[in-house]
Amino acid sequence: MNMIKHLKRSKPNRSKGGDFGIYFLLIFFGLFMAFPLVYAINSAFKPLNEIFVYPPRLFVQNPTMDNFQDLFVIMSKSWVPFTRYLFNTVLITVVGTAGHIIIASMGAYVLAKYDFPGSKTFFSIVITALMFNGYVTAIPNYLVMSKIGWVDTPWAVIIPAFAAPMGLFLMKQYMEGIPDALLEAAKIDGAKEWRIFTRIVMPMVKPAWLTLMILSIQALWNTKASNFIYSEELKTLPYALQQIVNGGIARAGVGAAVSLVMMIVPITTFIIVESNIIETMASSGIKD
């Protein structure tokens, strides 16, 4: 009788005290994690007389849109029109993400499903590449770029983004879950490899390429590209916005509005595709 009651509850060994403790800790640390974000959101809406009040207050008393208006005024007076910066960043993000998804998926598909000489070695090299530090590759990367002639063009940022190791890794781990029988049935029906790839595999791995999309957007949206891009009309949005923040005390309110604007895009895209990301990550383990 007791055993049946136990089997009915999903987790019978949860004490009330333990549950309470967990909620308490989660709320406490959740506040710690969210604190700077709450501060950023509040500061963006504070009028100037509240930013420098002493003792400093966290929450805004009279929210206004002044900071955003000032932001547009400043941006419209810049030497290069503001929309150009936005366009550069959007171009880098969109092209980089699209290319990354296609190229990484193609590579991951053959690494996951087929065994050919060199595949395992290549994959272990890619895992090792997950450990590279950005600075380690930045110094010679500049030399490679200048030899190819891509310095001062957006390609210097876009093309290396196509080959990010994390994308290949996550995609391959996810594709390993596709049943082989499906692919064999397609082959029997006479499909060529490319057709199998585009018509069968890619729709099935939707969570994985949504995850790749998010990770790529996160990385490319925030890139300053200051290593490679020097001419003013090719600079990206984070660079332009950082120049505003560097304007000092007078721009404190506008700086807060700027951080809010930069934060919105990655966070919104993350919220939209969150469940897909979790599903992709479920297969991301390194099996030994």
Partner: protein, 311 residues
């Protein structure tokens, strides 16, 4: 002699088989080609170039000049700042690495206990520091050295201190600030992998465990959950080690570059210093090579340790 001949013959036969296999899988190579070419050009070639440059003296304006192991000798024996940087990096890695890793797992485990909608909300809150890019600069405002800094104002208001503390420029406090901010940012891709992995552990094993008499959640964690998540734990460990050895953005943004008395100099900030300010690429490449070798060794050790979890 006979053994050597047999060995060579076997190797030749293996190579012939591989060659035949490769010829029949031409399309697969074509699929992999774009990625492989780009990856080699932008990830492998720079690392190998860096390795070669570490044996030269190279200042970008002149062609590299071969000087053998001189860079390494200078680095290990004659560079005081490098030793400080290594001490700081090891300290930061030892504290933020394991604590960040365990915190990511513990929070993923706690969040897993919540009902579904709360879970999605909590994931966004806990992952937000990582996605939002530059938000850690807000901590520079929090810890600001004048009385307007939030922490200073809070402490002064409650009477703990009477004058503002220079959190970001006083060598005594700088390391603590960097540790706190790094821990704040440590719930990254590893955290997502843990959340996903926890949902994927086989439910049947839990029920078998309850029948067999598992008394509380801690036993359940050690005997069932952790062994079921070993692949995720390995992935999280690789990510954490990479991040903790590469801590450089946070110290530069918060405490300045260079920091007072080099109190928060880490190996990577040292690398950036020599590479982009003094233009001694050979020296910077030597630092990068040593860092890379250290990370690989650490990864091997950690993976060996994680294989024994749950047994």
């Amino acid at each position: 002699m006979n053994f050597l001949k047999k060995y060579l013959r076997k190797k030749r036969k293996d190579a012939a088989i591989s060659w035949k296999k490769a010829k029949s899988s031409k399309t697969y190579y074509l699929f992999l080609a774009p990625y492989a070419i780009l990856f080699t050009m932008f990830y492998i070639v720079p690392v190998i170039t860096s390795l070669c440059l570490s044996f030269t003296y190279y200042n970008i304006l002149e062609p590299p000049r071969f000087i053998g192991l001189q860079n390494y000798i200078n680095l290990l024996l004659a560079d005081d700042v490098f030793l400080i940087a290594v001490k700081n990096t090891l300290l930061l890695a030892a504290i933020t690495g394991p604590i960040g890793y365990m915190a990511a797992f513990i929070f993923a485990w706690f969040i897993n206990e919540l009902p579904r909608y709360l879970r999605a909300f909590a994931i966004v809150i806990f992952y937000a520091p990582t996605i939002s890019g530059q938000v850690y600069l807000i901590w520079a405002i929090m810890f600001s050295g004048d009385a307007y800094g939030y922490i200073n104002a809070f402490l002064i208001k409650f009477g703990f201190i009477s004058a503002p503390i220079l959190w970001l420029t006083n060598p005594k406090y700088m390391i603590m600030v960097v540790i706190i901010v790094t821990l704040w940012m440590s719930l990254g891709t590893g955290f997502l992998a843990f959340v996903a992995g926890l949902q994927g552990v086989d439910k049947a094993q839990y029920e078998a465990g309850y029948i067999d008499g598992i008394k509380n959640r801690w036993q359940e964690l050690w005997y069932i959950t952790l062994p079921g998540m070993k692949p995720m734990l390995l992935f999280g460990a690789v990510m954490t080690i990479t991040q903790s050895f590469g801590i450089a953005d946070v110290p530069i943004a918060l405490t300045g570059f260079p920091s007072t008395d080099y109190a928060t100099q880490t190996v990577v900030t040292h690398l950036v210093d020599y590479g982009s300010i003094r233009f001694e690429m050979g020296y910077a490449s030597a630092i990068a090579t040593l860092l890379f070798i250290t990370m690989i060794l650490c990864n091997k050790v950690i993976q060996a340790m994680l294989r024994r979890v749950g047994t």
